[in-house]
């Protein structure tokens, strides 16, 4: 069932340059889904979310909640629960008053208010904090009050704009699991905005990767990681080598390319890739799918090590292959890899993927 639908939504700000902040975005979000907008700073995530919340109106396009066209509804009619990046708690109210605000607006009876506020605070592990002043809370606690305030009204859609960006690394990981747990329990459709790809991967049912106001790819974390639609997505999600390789043949869902070492391999490709013999394919190869091995004849490619760093989990190296930098993450690398060593590299063909430019 479709819960939120954006159809060809664009937003141009009156005075900014001619380029659109959000450009022709079409996505559908299913009921109960945890949907993430992911992209670098300035790509239009917040603008998109604020159009869903009703703080901006699209320049063109439509937004539907279920069957309702809400494109021009005011924010207070939309029944969304928004968690702001800086929490936006009311500084002149206590924790409980903050959480109760939306209930008061909805004319919920006093007894129900009290009960639901208590429940919501329990849900975010803040039971007993109701009478605290906002400025007597830590950042993480404030974040959870903001969450409770949005949750307690049982909104049809939760909107979260980088709610974790003000927390330190450890708290961020704890809280993201917590948010996901609460979302699962309540089954609320959620749209989550972040520029942190690890966060997006860990939390989301589906992710829309955005860049310069456009959606580059929509898919599950798995699809986005293993089958990036284009070079931008491949590089933005995790780390990736994008190799330009000559095409020797193609089928509907694969392309045969020749490696620098001379061997030819088949690489998975999206339907309608349009490549044929004689073209050059862009192939995304994750560093962890590259290993040491092979001599002059059998290696996929060879080069000189230009950078080595040991992280504990893996040894990251960069190898200079004919002037192109290739990154590899080696598990169990032999001790004594040196800068300047010439090494051979092997690829895992089933993990490679042809991307669009």
């Amino acid at each position: 069932m479709i819960d939120v639908r954006l159809t060809a939504v664009s937003k141009r700000f009156a005075k900014s340059s001619d380029s659109a902040a959000v450009d022709d975005v079409t996505v559908t979000i299913g009921a109960g889904e945890f949907f993430t907008l992911l992209g670098p700073s300035g790509c239009g995530k917040t603008t998109t979310l604020r159009m869903v919340a009703g703080f901006y109106f699209p320049t063109s396009g439509h937004i539907h909640f279920g069957d309702d066209d809400v494109t021009h509804w005011t924010p207070n009619k939309r029944d969304t629960g928004m968690v702001f990046q800086n929490y936006a708690l009311f500084p002149h109210m206590t924790v409980a008053q903050n959480v109760a605000y939306g209930l008061k607006v909805r004319r919920v009876s006093r007894a129900d208010q009290a009960r639901r506020v208590t429940e919501a605070l329990e849900q975010v592990h803040l039971a007993g904090y109701g009478d605290r002043r906002i400025d007597a809370l830590s950042g993480g606690q404030q974040q959870r009050v903001a969450l409770a305030r949005a949750l307690v009204i049982r909104p049809r859609t939760m909107l979260l704009d980088e709610p974790l960006s003000n927390l330190d690394a450890k708290l961020r990981e704890e809280t993201r699991a917590e948010i996901r747990r609460i979302q699962r329990e309540s089954g609320t459709t959620s749209i989550y905005v972040t520029h942190d790809q690890a966060e997006a991967m860990a939390m989301s049912d589906r992710i829309a990767v955005m860049e310069s106001g456009r959606v580059q790819q929509v898919g599950t974390p798995h699809e986005i990681y293993y089958k990036p639609a284009n070079a931008f997505v491949a590089r933005f999600i995790g780390r990736s080598n994008v190799l330009s390789l000559p095409v020797t043949g193609a089928t509907d869902d694969s392309v045969a390319v020749r490696l620098p070492g001379g061997a030819t391999i088949d690489v998975g490709a999206p339907a309608g890739h349009g490549l044929g013999a004689g073209d050059t394919a862009l192939v995304s190869a994750r560093p962890e799918h590259i290993a040491l091995g092979g001599d002059d004849d059998t290696a996929a490619m060879r080069g000189r090590i230009s950078h080595v760093e040991f992280t504990g989990m893996a040894t990251n190296i960069s190898v200079d292959v004919d002037g192109n930098e290739v990154m590899a993450a080696l598990i169990d690398a032999p001790a004594g890899l040196q800068l300047g060593d010439v090494v051979g590299l092997r690829l895992v063909p089933e993990r490679l993927w042809v991307v669009k430019p």
């Binding site: 928004m82 936006a88 009311f90 605000y101 305030r149 949005a150």
Partner: protein, 582 residues
Amino acid sequence: MTAATRTAPAWAAALGRRLSGGANSRWFPYLLVLPLVLVLWGFVVQPMFATFRESVSANGSDNYLQFLSSSGVARESLFTSLFISAASVLLCGIVGVAMAFLLKRFHFRGRRLIEAFILVPAALPPLIGAVSFQLLYSNIGIVPRGLQALLGTEKPVLAFDGIAGVLVVHTFTMYPFFFLAASAALAGMDPSVEEAAYNLGAGRFRVWRTVLLPMLTPALISASLLVFMTSLASYTAPLLFNVSQTMTMQIYINRTNGDLPMASAYASVLGIVSIIFLLAMRWYEGRRNYQSQSKGISAVRREITNPIGRWLAPLASVLATLVLLAPVAAIALVAFSEDRSWTTEVLPPTYTFENFVTIFTDPKAFEPILNSVQMSLIAVVGCVVIGVLIAYAVRRLKFVGRGLLDVAVMIAWALPGTVVAINLISAFSTGNAFSFGQVLVGTFWILPLAYFVRFLPIVFRSSSATLALIDPSLEDAARNLGASWLRAFYTITVRLMLPGVLAGALLAFVHGVGEFVASVLIYTSSTVPISVAINNRMYSFELGTAAAYGMLQVLLIFVVMWFSGRLESSRTATRRAEQWTN
């Protein structure tokens, strides 16, 4: 080394070391602070006690009982003063907050025009301000007479008189306290807090009531206290609009009738009320405000989309700008009118340059300008020396009683000019240790002294504000490189404070040149200042010359305003208002 083995020279050397230890030595602060304490005690605090003694000298507590008796002028005046102050707070609050919302939250044509001139009425010296409003809106004012001519009525239309007139002056000159406080609060407010309320389903009215107004409350309370205090001290407006039963007017009337004890009783009551307000303000200032530093794009100004609004906005802006500039325009117009020629016409009938020519060629007419400039300069020198040192002591040194020193300066700021004048009369009409046994009342020195007391806080504040921005470790660095305290203080701290001090000094100078409230009570016939000359000319119906003096003051103010605006662009808006509005 024990005390017994110390020889006298060794002890002297130790003393020398301690002194050069400067700010870091334990009792150096007291050495610096002692003279400052003596000055504040001698010229601010002690005169207050002298006034109190004076008020109970003749017939004990009788003077004060009059404030309690059910009938009589004293009680009536106290109530009128309180009523005027409360009404001023209300009016200024409505006008100031409405302007702030309009200008900060909406985008419409003409907005910048209003913003450019919004502080003009408040920047006028008190007497000029009141005179210009009298020329504009009173019985004899241009607007009521204009309307009378237009509508063909018998009497001037919409003429403000008495208390209503006073309230008009107060509203126009004091609403910036609210405007600036509310603007700053709105600008500092995190827009997403407001959005959160909309998101939770609140309508516009509810957001106002439950989020915006509560968050503005701290700013509004500070502004209310300030306006209340300033209205209480207001003297010129009641004088010009003939409201004789206010505290300040009663001080003046009793003083001119020779009843100094009664004048002193009024001054004591007014002084105490003012100090209570000062303390309330300081107590409140330390409390929370709701500024937040959130990242991201700040509050978006709403376009006015309503077609009627779109049409009206530029019109209203032009009208508002005209109203804001009208006082200066009125003064300028009348400055070129012939003395005594303007009787019942809407505008002065005949124009001339004569007024300015007279002022600059007739030595008698030029004398008030010389007097004011001379006396203000003397006062400013004192203000700078003492003000900078007090600012340094309060900001940088640790000593017992630091808070009291600070409060003592602020008392000088809180006391109405009339009260300062009465205090000085009470203290210095006989010889006094602080005047080296000389009688100061009736001499040249009494006015510079009054200006010094009134405007010391201005220099203190701007010095203290710049000092707050200077990293104390700069001075430490100089000491570390081998400079003595005095050298470090002089070459680093004073040097860096210079722009702030200069701005404060200029401001004090302008205020001195425009000072009227205290001057009118204590001037001597050989040292008539400009404002008293203006007042005298008004009395003898030489409106043109009076306005010409006023115009010169306005020019001086605009020049200084422009200049100090360049000096200190980083100052906060609120502080600017407190300096300019008096």
